[in-house]
Symmetry: C2
Subunit: 396 residues, 2 copies
């Protein structure tokens, strides 16, 4: 039985209002469950995704873009809830690095997300209520398994490229390890083969901030008609600091005061950096679900690719024919270059085809989302080389 496909995905807004989203949906029926890492056979569920450009006749020009923790499928168009530009608009489009005149770009809202794909805020068919904490704990591998359903549905045997930064990069690595024949090239950016103790620690702070909010209600906030806005905002603020570098914060804000000439001797946001962080927290809660934040951070914490391959990372890539381009940023302290080097060493150990570039920037982890000329030039060069091998040459 083929999954039912209707045209438009939807997302459930608080509290119960259903909003139609741009893009596409895949409804996976109860008869075709996904076997999750936790052991549960999960179905039915819906996957929301968006595409840009056109799939060519032999379906060989597809690029899967994997989004990060708080990203979604709206890569190259205004966000339907916030109206802000797509999160990689300067990367994806006609004549851009991910050229929609040439490539068919797919981006899939991750399983457990909150932008049309089934996650904890959507309705659990077994109860008629939002899933909440009854949603199964999912992993990066589960997210990728769900994505495979979409790629199968589109009839694509092999993706020309799988690309993504941060948690998106974890998905890229999982794709390359689990489905090497389906990934011609892979670009894991600002990522790691496993989440570090420090990163788990920061995630745990965010989760505890959400759980500490009485409006979280043990995860059942939507049923109770409330939302843990304050906890989620604190979680976002803490995380946001880790996305920037000390140098970037210093350059952008330093100790500059916000709308005042002198210190207030109070607890208002005297400093611009305080005001900026509060803004980051308060805007985030408008578009993101607190329980999704718990689940997706957990999936990142659980990611440890080597563990599934006898503790040896290189084994994850043994025999791979995928062409890799690994990118890190000098000032990224969340996913420092050492993590990328560990990947390069593992790939070298199995004689994989791998390029590695460390981009000089003071913009921190966020650099992968920003308009960094050297970064863009690197990706363009890699994709051109890969395209030449794919369509003109022989595959190495």
């Amino acid at each position: 039985m083929t999954p039912h496909v209707s045209n438009k995905p939807t997302t459930t807004m608080p509290f119960g209002r259903v909003v139609e989203l741009p893009g596409h949906r895949l409804d996976v029926p109860a008869t075709e469950p996904l076997r999750l890492d936790c052991g549960i056979d999960f179905a039915p569920f819906t996957i929301a995704y968006q595409t840009y450009g056109r799939l060519n006749a032999d379906k060989s020009n597809a690029i899967l873009v994997c989004h990060a923790l708080t990203g979604d499928q709206f890569v190259a168009e205004p966000h339907p809830i916030t109206g802000k530009p797509g999160w990689w608009e300067h990367m994806v489009g006609p004549g851009r690095v991910l050229d929609t005149d040439r490539f068919f770009i797919i981006c899939i809202n991750v399983l457990g997300g909150c932008m049309g794909t089934t996650g904890p805020k959507e309705i659990n068919p077994a109860t008629g209520k939002p899933w909440g904490l009854k949603f199964p704990v999912i992993t990066i591998a589960d997210m990728v398994r769900a994505q495979v359903r979409v790629i199968d549905h589109l009839g694509i045997d092999q993706l020309f490229c799988v690309i993504g930064g941060s948690m998106g990069g974890m998905q890229v690595l999982q794709w390359a390890a689990a489905y090497p024949e389906r990934v011609f090239s892979a670009v894991p950016i600002a990522t790691a083969a496993r989440h570090s103790a420090q990163n788990i620690a920061f995630h745990e702070v965010g989760r505890q901030a959400i759980i500490a909010d009485p409006d979280w209600c043990g995860g059942d906030y939507l049923e109770r008609g409330v939302r843990p806005h304050r906890g989620l905002a604190v979680a976002r603020m803490a995380a946001h600091i880790t996305y920037l570098s000390e140098a970037a914060l210093h350059r952008k804000f330093g100790r500059a005061l916000q709308d005042r000439e002198a210190l207030s001797y109070g607890f208002d946001a005297d400093f611009q950096v305080e005001s900026y962080l509060r803004h980051q927290g308060s805007t985030f809660v408008e578009r993101f679900d607190a329980n999704s934040y718990l689940y997706i951070t957990r999936a990142m914490d659980y990611f440890d690719l080597a563990r599934d391959y006898g503790g040896v990372l290189a084994n994850a890539f043994r025999g791979t024919k995928t062409r890799f381009c690994i990118v890190s940023f000098t000032s990224d302290w969340l996913f420092p270059t050492a993590e990328s080097r560990a990947l390069v060493h593992a790939l070298n150990a199995v004689a994989a085809n791998v390029s590695f570039v460390e981009i000089e920037t003071d913009k921190g982890h966020d650099a992968f989302l920003l308009d960094e000329p050297e970064f863009f030039a690197t990706l363009a060069g890699f994709l051109n080389g890969a395209a030449e091998h794919r369509w003109n040459g022989t595959r190495r």
Copy 2:
């Protein structure tokens, strides 16, 4: 009029129980107010302090130890609330680096603190209720002004040394800048002449976590018979990550699981690092007041020594005869070595007597509280040299 001195300080526990503390108290009467940076003349108030060793006949052997954000005056004895060892017990005692057979060690709970010195949890005499947010916003300079009252009370003209790490180091710098004749030697450790944008940002996350807790009650929680435990615990967890290095977290915890063989696929503390952080949060709230946390972090954020000296840090130390020993730690990313170098440059610019040591360690900012042999040897060497100049030689 001399301030009234009784023997024992007290601290008000939640909710209203008054506990007698070891050590000493100085009661500053309403007739001798402290002019605070915010413009308020503050009095009456109480300062709680502790001493170790004996003041010599000419009162020349006193060392003032300045505590950090969540420290207190119990440097070298079990904490009266938690029973844990003093926070610098391996540094202070007979035969130790701060040798109580030789020196008279003083440590003063900072103004705004919560261990006997007047702070937001103590009773506001004007209302008969806890101060809460009616407590004035204080600065590092205000803390030092309050400390001067104790040093005056003890009849000490010049401190042989003022020493402290982190916020304690800020106080050391403030002492050396504002009272150069009263500071023979100064040891600012793991500190900075101004709080960075990133550090302000982390503090703001902690404050927002507290303020977001409904049990904070606009600061009036003690009156309402509650405490913002959850918010304060989240604040502590976020801060605690910044006290360690990524390497230390990796070495101590890595991705090791807590009391289990496999991932739980739930939101329990699967990883040891999560369990450790939760423990840090939950034990902290037993001994620390949430409003004190707001006030003291604010004081650190406001610290910018150059600002009070025409924007030129060197001017803060022009003409100083104080001997400085500046210490930083390689893996401290909260107060990185660059901050100490800026201090050294400013002191060099006015031809001050300054030693600078960067200690190699992977223990992060917390290293200043730990038993680091090279750190201890550095301090012992500096103090011996200073003592020779003070008592045997001439003051340079």
